[in-house]
């Protein structure tokens, strides 16, 4: 398979290089409409400059900290809620329909309300991010708690598991793939919400404010740096999440 490696590397880098060339060409041609559009070199120089001056690392760390705080809060609320919804039929009937209605509210619709209810500071942002992560995590944990197939349910009955054994040995492991999938979606949602929170709510250090200041200063290169870093950070978060998840459910 090593023979196929070189063409593969070529293929992987083909589109990025082509886009880069297009970008360079467009800016070099100097079309009037796109005069404000910076050349690739300008953007990379800007990225390097912002990184070395410490602005970019600081913004990245601030956004990540906010993201993970919200995600942790959402997971801490969502996993127990989802599991209880699925494991207790009574609780599921009582609370399930309410949660199902709640999850229909588009996440960004909360922004005007949360700003008012939780103040303009950090807590409103974290609550907003937590809500974004909470919904898919709960939905998946709920589905997971009901994921034990009837056949294995009967196997636990025949083996005369106690209710506790049934939970620990069968229900929870059966729920794990769904929980992991929910956490992964939750992490993506939290990252989306982090940007949204920084963009729409009060100004605070973070990648969102890098975007905003770029827009306000008409500094397109800064905006592009922000977009690039946001995407790459999202990829990194998702990769870490999927690796960790795969370790947790190796038996699949």
């Amino acid at each position: 398979m090593t023979a196929g490696l070189a063409p593969r590397v070529l293929r992987f880098s083909l589109l990025p290089l082509a886009l880069l060339a297009l970008w360079q060409g467009v800016t070099a041609a100097g079309w009037t409409d796109l005069r404000e559009f910076p050349a690739p070199a300008t953007v990379f120089a800007r990225a390097l400059g912002e990184w070395q001056s410490g602005v970019l690392p600081e913004a990245l760390l601030a956004s990540l900290a906010r993201d993970l705080a919200g995600f942790a809060l959402g997971a801490a609320a969502g996993i127990p809620l989802g599991l209880t919804l699925g494991l207790s039929p009574w609780f599921g009937r009582l609370v399930g329909p309410t949660f199902d209605s709640f999850k229909q509210i588009a996440i960004f619709a909360w922004i005007p309300l949360f700003g008012l209810w939780f103040g303009m500071g950090e807590s409103a942002k974290v609550v907003f991010i937590a809500t974004a992560a909470f919904v898919p995590i709960t939905v998946n944990a709920w589905a997971g708690a009901r994921a034990l197939p009837q056949t294995l349910e009967e196997a636990t009955a025949v083996l005369r598991f106690s209710p506790w054994q049934r939970l620990i040995w069968a229900r929870l492991p059966a729920a794990l793939p769904d929980i992991v999938a929910g956490l992964r979606v939750g992490l993506i949602n939290a990252w989306l919400a982090t940007v949204g929170a920084e963009y729409f709510m009060s100004v605070a250090p973070g990648l969102g404010s890098v975007l905003i200041s770029g827009r306000d200063l008409y500094a397109m290169d800064l905006v592009l740096v922000g977009v690039l870093v946001l995407g790459l950070t999202g990829v990194a978060l998702d990769t870490v999440a999927s690796r960790l998840g795969a370790i947790l459910i190796r038996w699949q």
Partner: protein, 250 residues
């Protein structure tokens, strides 16, 4: 020891279909002696699987008497184990952990459980696969683990619900003889439900022939020890013809 391990007396069972009761089992009476191997053979839909599910205690509502060791059956119990058609192993547990799951209700210590589970894996010839996950096992191997899991709690009665139906012919033939050996060696009573007449003849001390709509016993055939049970012998062929003839009636 009682002369009867399992006692089935005038057992009937109906489901409700479109608001009307539909009988699936009617007037089943059958005693299984300690150490006896009984084959139940019938076409699909004759209620033979329902019969096993009642005996193991997965289903409980019925008319008539159903008792093991003189005590009415009111749910799953240690003394009655089952192997399903699908292996139903827990995919997140290794083979040996799956066998240990059969000891869920015992007060044995951890190492003791592991020892007994390994012993039973050895009994089904899978000592080398203790740490394998179900997805890494072939169908036949997975079914062996399921058999070990059923046996590990030392039941008195082993129930087999078409356990070899999903296996290839060669594997099936191996496993049939192995189950027979284990049942004899451990002195168990056993009931196998199957639609494979040759399998019923090979394994059973008696063959119970069932007919559908509603499921009922058409005939109970007592088998001689010896060549009559070996597939291909004239006796077995005659017996096979007789059973198939019975199954053809309705």
């Amino acid at each position: 020891m009682a002369a009867t391990a399992l006692e089935i007396r005038d057992l009937s069972k109906s489901y409700v279909v479109n608001g009307a009761p539909l009988p699936v089992l009617a007037g089943i009476s059958l005693d299984v002696a300690p150490g006896e191997f009984v084959s139940v053979v019938g076409a699909s839909g004759c209620g033979k699987s329902t019969l096993l599910r009642l005996i193991v205690g997965l289903e409980q509502e019925h008319d008539g008497r159903l008792a093991y060791d003189g005590r009415p059956i009111d749910g799953p119990g240690r003394e009655r184990a089952i192997v399903f058609q699908e292996h139903r192993l827990f995919p997140w547990l290794t083979a040996v952990q799956n066998v240990e799951a059969g000891l869920a209700r015992s007060d044995l210590g951890k190492s003791e459980r592991r020892r007994i589970a390994l012993e039973h894996l050895a009994l089904v010839g899978l000592s080398n696969f203790a740490e394998a996950l179900p997805k890494q096992l072939s169908g036949g191997m997975a079914q062996r683990v399921a058999i070990a899991r059923a046996l590990v709690s030392r039941p008195g009665l082993l129930l087999l619900d078409e356990p070899f139906g999903a296996l290839d012919a060669l594997t099936r033939s191996h496993l049939q003889r192995e189950v027979l050996r284990i049942v004899r060696q451990e002195g168990l009573s056993a009931i196998i439900v199957t639609h494979d007449v040759d399998e019923a003849i090979l394994l059973g001390d008696r063959v119970v022939v069932m007919q559908p709509h509603p499921g009922r016993i058409a005939e109970v055939i007592v088998e001689e020890e010896g060549p009559a049970r070996e597939p291909g012998t004239p006796e077995a062929v005659a017996l096979r013809r007789r059973i198939l003839h019975r199954l053809g009636e309705d």
